[in-house]
Symmetry: C2
Subunit: 382 residues, 2 copies
């Protein structure tokens, strides 16, 4: 997909990249970052878990990150007078920039206290004496990238209140960053998401999302791709597990919440969250950049429609996660099928669903309401 | 392991089983349940997720379960006068009983609204016309069992305050229930756990744990067993991945928190929770019933020692999950290695770690503190 991006690339005083995406061309973005920040040198690492065959990110500098500041000190508002924020301009449309407290983006150097660790790409397995080798539970640099995406300069707005014009600009930024982060050395998967609501740990109120460029294919994606590969092995070289799920939902018509010409939204047959929705393009496409401009417009409008229903469920905004599942950068791209997954832990007007031992310890989830009932509620609040 | 269980089996007024485990023999447990409860007919089902190759439990009756009642109405206190609780006796030592609001334990009957679902054991795959068959996303009865384990009749006590004698009785109950639930038709895995603290969703304050008999091998266990099988393929038919991890931790000595003659406790190399500890027997045993009586005594004492350190970390009790990972009932028993995993989301005195889009959407976790630092903190609060 090629949509015009009115894009101005700048650099913050600590060396981080900040990019303005404007609703229209011709807006000068020359305001300098007047802060005198020390050079940005994030340190993070990834650690391999040989039991779950998975990587965990360790970013020790994040413990001191900004947590729910007063609105007057919001780092995502534009810079106004003496209140110097992360965004030098005194107004903006959409802006993306490198997170000041990123989970990914650097490497610990000279870590003598981690005996045997820190050797990138060292082979696993056993040493000659039969003892596990140094790299049995390897530690590697946490290369990658974490970006913040501000949807609007208006601190009190939210994603569902963005204009169609602005939604177009947000989509253009997502596509641009997906393509760009896919080129960052070491990045294997680009994940666009929004955490909304302090109840689920969002540390800033200002309307914003995030983008992670992971240095590995995530555990959930690996598992989904393995399922898709097994499905293809059993059903032919052009068959897609996700297309089959879409066909199954359209045939049963028990959990569909909305259909548009190019997309379908439904409550999955086996959800983990009380209010969970999956949105798929009917066309088998791997990622956001593969959508046409009209498809992107339709999708953004559908996302707003669905998120508005989350607000109507309990007559108030409820916490949610919006997760874009895109194909990894290098592997399994033909097996992948783009989806947007919306999840809220709200299970009653003042009750959140908690994930305790069964979920956290065994990865076994319990739903308290039938998925078909949830789908009906989503349809009822259209 | 055979340890004496001073055990009295009874039945509640709705047909649920309740068992007293006493610290010593000879205590009569004849008090009848004076409530006139309707017959216990839990309805639950399990639903297959073809993307994550996993089952989700759906138990719609749980939405109305008891949530943080006043202490005077605690259903886990003994029955005193007119306050009829779940436990008919006016005092008890340890008691286990079937959960009144279980996630598992029954089946929806006559579910005509779920087209194509509900057929147990129906084959998956495609129908003749190429459309996904009825059982593509199958629904099956949620057979299994959910039990509550009360550790003491003292509402204000807690696991770490139990006497050595009582810990022995709790261990005897865990062993007894593991063996018994392994015989319940359809149960594939027995999971003993404690959710402590309203912050992580514990709905009752009274000191208690739970036991789930799942009708499937859980996702996390399947993944761990697959890793153990790959390890064995690469390292010989008697080698154990978990024994190798124990050897690695003992060699590096970076994350060990405590060692006793038969057990080791350490912060894992790649933890998911801010304060996470794994406890393994050095001996390769699959489950609690395989421990000797002296080993069980040593283990209970170690668990109390470690949980006391959780309280000392922040000079107050903090929420935790205690999860016993035992071998499944039928598969992978020789690959399994018993462990106790303790996890707390507390990351600062008044801050809980949240799991948002990266964790919930991608299963990618970020730690804010080095695991070696966490291990040192646990050692410091001995």
């Amino acid at each position: 997909m090629t949509i015009p991006t009115n894009k101005t690339r700048t650099v913050l005083s600590d060396g981080r990249e900040l990019i303005y995406f404007d609703d229209r061309p011709g807006i000068p973005r020359t305001a300098p970052d007047l802060r005198n920040l020390a050079p940005h040198r994030p340190q993070s690492e990834i650690r391999y878990d040989p039991v779950l065959d998975d990587w965990v990110i360790v970013a020790a500098h994040r413990q001191t990150r900004t947590n729910l500041p007063a609105a007057s000190e919001c780092p995502l508002c534009p810079t106004r007078g003496a209140s110097l924020s992360e965004i030098p301009a005194d107004d903006y449309h959409v802006v993306t920039f490198e997170n000041r407290f990123p989970s990914l983006g650097g490497a610990y150097e000279g870590r003598g206290d981690i005996a045997g660790g820190g050797v990138r790409g060292a082979p696993g397995g056993l040493a000659d004496d039969g003892a596990p080798s140094a790299a049995f539970q390897p530690i590697e640099p946490g290369v990658g990238r974490c970006e913040v995406v501000c949807f609007t300069s208006d601190h009190t707005s939210s994603f569902v209140r963005l204009s169609p014009e602005r939604l177009h600009t947000v989509a253009a930024a997502w596509v641009d960053r997906t393509l760009h982060l896919s080129q960052v050395p070491g990045v294997e998967q680009v994940f666009i998401f929004e955490n909304r609501g302090a109840e689920i740990g969002a540390t800033l109120d200002h309307p914003h999302g995030q983008i992670y460029g992971y240095p590995f294919v995530t555990s959930r994606t690996s598992r989904a791709l393995a399922s898709a590969a097994r499905w293809r092995d059993g059903h032919g070289s052009t068959s897609c597990l996700f297309c089959a799920i879409i066909a199954d939902e359209r045939e049963k018509r028990l959990r569909i919440v909305e259909e548009t010409p190019s997309f379908i939204a439904f409550v999955p047959a086996a959800p983990r969250f009380p209010y969970e929705l999956h949105v798929y393009p009917r066309r088998h496409v791997p990622d956001l950049p593969s959508l046409t401009a009209p498809e992107l417009t339709e999708l953004m409008s559908l996302q707003v429609d669905l998120l508005r229903r989350y607000e109507r469920l309990f007559d108030k905004p409820i916490p949610y996660m919006a997760c874009w599942h895109q194909a990894p950068v290098r592997v399994g791209r033909d097996l992948s099928h783009l989806s947007l997954q919306l999840m809220s832990p709200q299970r009653a007007p003042n009750v959140l669903k908690f994930f305790a031992s069964s979920e956290s310890g065994m990865h076994a989830y319990t739903m308290d309401v039938l998925p078909e009932t949830i789908a009906a509620r989503f349809r009822d609040v259209k």
